[in-house]
């Protein structure tokens, strides 16, 4: 379990004080995939670096499995770091070592014999699906392949935790999906707890169990991904989750009354809009829709514009009130 308690990080520079993190409190349980999302500059990269103390927090405590990291000696800290894998946006492979030796590197650092380290490295390369490229050098690989090597390297020491700092931000959508799939597989099969830092909602959406939204150095919102997705509370979460519909709403100025229908996983089997239109005998205009299949049920939002006709409008509202559908007035 990872616990961050009252974590703050302030940089002093000639340009003045910069508060990168302010009073961060987070608990990450074993076995989960935890996402941290925020815009660039929000402090999320600093946050993940505070977990393995690549950045030392100015205030606060970092607890990992009952050990307070900021109180450890340097050699103890290095030992703890060996139990925490990390992958990066820029992959950060050793460019003068081939793929196999890159994966064997953390094992050699631990003092394992080279031949033995290579054996273990081969197993890991098989796991990430890169067995045929073991003699290649990083410069000869694609971005997705480099990240697979980086993942194999991060897993070499059998870490309990894996930190991912914008690990898919430099990759195209298809490669991103396959890398996330691999991370999920690692989480499920090896039981590795994964912490993912990203600015992309789709990353959180695809594999995270819980998410923290970070904005201006603070945690704005935290919770189960399904909850945060269906009813974002903070301004920043709304902005990150519903970016397109704001634009759509700005573009549509027809003047009709607008409602937001919220699919929260309970009514998903029901064809709500069809029922509404058929029973009320009134047309509605779908301004925006974003629904996702999530663990077998549907979550998401839909924004409807009601007809100008007052009678039809009231009929629809009355129907909605009786139907058990979650909805609210959209302004």
């Amino acid at each position: 379990m990872i616990e961050l308690k009252h974590l703050s990080k302030t940089y002093e520079s000639s340009a003045g004080r910069v508060e990168a993190l302010k009073d961060i409190n987070l608990t990450i349980s074993d076995g989960e995939i935890f996402g941290v999302i925020g815009l660039s500059g929000a402090g999320k990269s600093t946050l993940v670096r505070c977990i393995n103390l690549l950045e030392r927090p100015t205030e606060g405590e970092v607890w990992i499995d009952g050990q307070e990291l900021t109180a450890l000696s340097r050699s103890e800290l290095l030992r703890v770091r060996r139990g925490i894998g990390m992958i990066f946006q820029g992959f950060n492979l050793l460019e003068q070592r081939n793929v196999l030796d890159n994966v064997a590197f953390p094992l050699e650092i631990e003092g394992m014999k080279k031949a033995q380290a290579r054996e273990k490295a081969k197993e890991l390369l098989a796991l990430v699906g890169l067995s045929e490229r073991e003699r290649a050098y990083p410069a000869q690989l694609s971005g997705g392949q480099k990240q697979r090597v980086a993942i194999a390297r991060a897993l070499a020491t059998n870490p309990k935790y894996l930190l991912c700092d914008e690990a898919t931000s430099a990759l195209d959508p298809n490669t991103t999906r396959s890398i996330l799939e691999l991370l999920r597989q690692i989480n499920e099969e090896m039981g590795v707890t994964i912490i993912i830092i990203t600015h992309e909602m789709k990353v959180i959406d695809q594999i995270c169990d819980r998410v923290a939204v970070i904005d201006h150095s603070c945690i704005a919102e935290e919770g189960r991904v399904a909850d945060v997705f269906t009813s974002p509370q903070s301004e920043i979460a709304k902005e990150l989750i519903l970016p397109q519909d704001r634009k759509a709403l700005a573009a549509q100025t027809d003047g009709g009354r607008r409602l937001r229908i919220i699919f929260d996983g309970q009514k998903s089997r029901r064809p709500v809009i069809s029922d509404l239109v058929l029973e009320c005998q009134a047309p509605v205009n779908i301004l925006f829709a974003d629904t996702k299949d999530f663990e077998g049920t549907v979550y998401g939002h839909m924004i409807l514009e009601l007809p100008h006709d007052k009678r039809q409008e009231e009929k629809i509202i009355a129907w909605l009130k009786n139907s058990g559908v979650t909805w609210k007035e959209e302004v």
Binding site: L93, E95, Q96, Y137
Partner: protein, 237 residues
């Protein structure tokens, strides 16, 4: 070769002096002396300059183990030596040479002064090569729990290797240039031949021959060095 030179001499193309120098083996010895002074000085300059350059890079503010006072102190000392024109520095270092090789004359003394003149230059070359190593790779190594010594040995040096070799080529060519100055301190080699037999005895052809030989040697150093650097660099696809 000897017959060819005699023939050229009879036609008035080369001077008698040149033929004599070749037949006495002075020229051949000069080439050899220049090369061994260069190689030996470069080797010892790296023995001193490589650790110094590494310390400069590591203790720098953005390095893996910032030590401000040590970095500033080394920086000042190196800049002190670097700001003295090479020929003056070599003259000034003669007492040091006497301490180490017990003579202020000859190639032994010249090599000592060459090393002292070249080591600070080498240190700066090494420092810049080490600083070129991608900060992300160093961060990844730190995240793995590498000690600073492990980062130096297994990350910084191997990752900077192609750049270090390129730097070594440049340093060697610079030291090669210094060897010609050594003629003024009683050092031998092509520089001395060009000055004594070419310049002072007005044999233009000897001066030019030395020029051509030096150009060829520099080209060879450059060629071999670049070849090795390219061969070792795994970033090239």
């Amino acid at each position: 070769m000897s017959a060819l030179l005699t023939n050229l001499c009879e036609k008035g193309i080369v001077s008698e002096m040149l033929v004599k120098l070749w037949n006495n083996g002075v020229l051949q010895l000069g080439i050899w002396e220049t090369i061994y002074m260069t190689v030996l000085s470069a080797f010892f300059a790296y023995l001193i300059g490589l650790p110094l350059g590494m310390i400069l890079a590591v203790t720098d503010e953005g390095g893996i183990r910032p030590v401000r006072w040590l970095n500033s102190l080394l920086g000042v000392i190196i800049n002190f030596f670097r700001s003295i024109p090479c020929i003056i520095l070599m003259v000034a270092m003669i007492p040091v040479a006497r301490l180490i090789v017990h003579t202020s004359l000859g190639n032994g003394a010249v090599i000592v002064t060459l090393i002292i003149a070249a080591a600070p230059y080498v240190a700066r070359m090494v420092e810049s090569s080490i600083k070129e190593v991608n900060a992300g790779i160093i961060e990844a190594a730190q995240a793995m729990g590498c000690t600073n010594a492990q980062i130096v040995l297994h990350v910084l040096l191997p990752e900077a290797k192609p750049s270090l070799i390129q730097g070594a080529v440049i340093s060697t060519v610079t030291i090669f240039g210094y060897t010609a100055l050594a003629a003024t301190l009683g050092g031998t080699g092509l520089g001395q031949i060009a000055i004594i037999y070419g310049h002072q005895r007005s044999n233009g052809d000897i001066t030019w021959l030395c020029v051509v030989l030096m150009v060829v040697i520099v080209q060879l150093i450059q060629l071999v060095g670049t070849f090795i650097a390219r061969r070792t660099d795994k970033r090239i696809k």
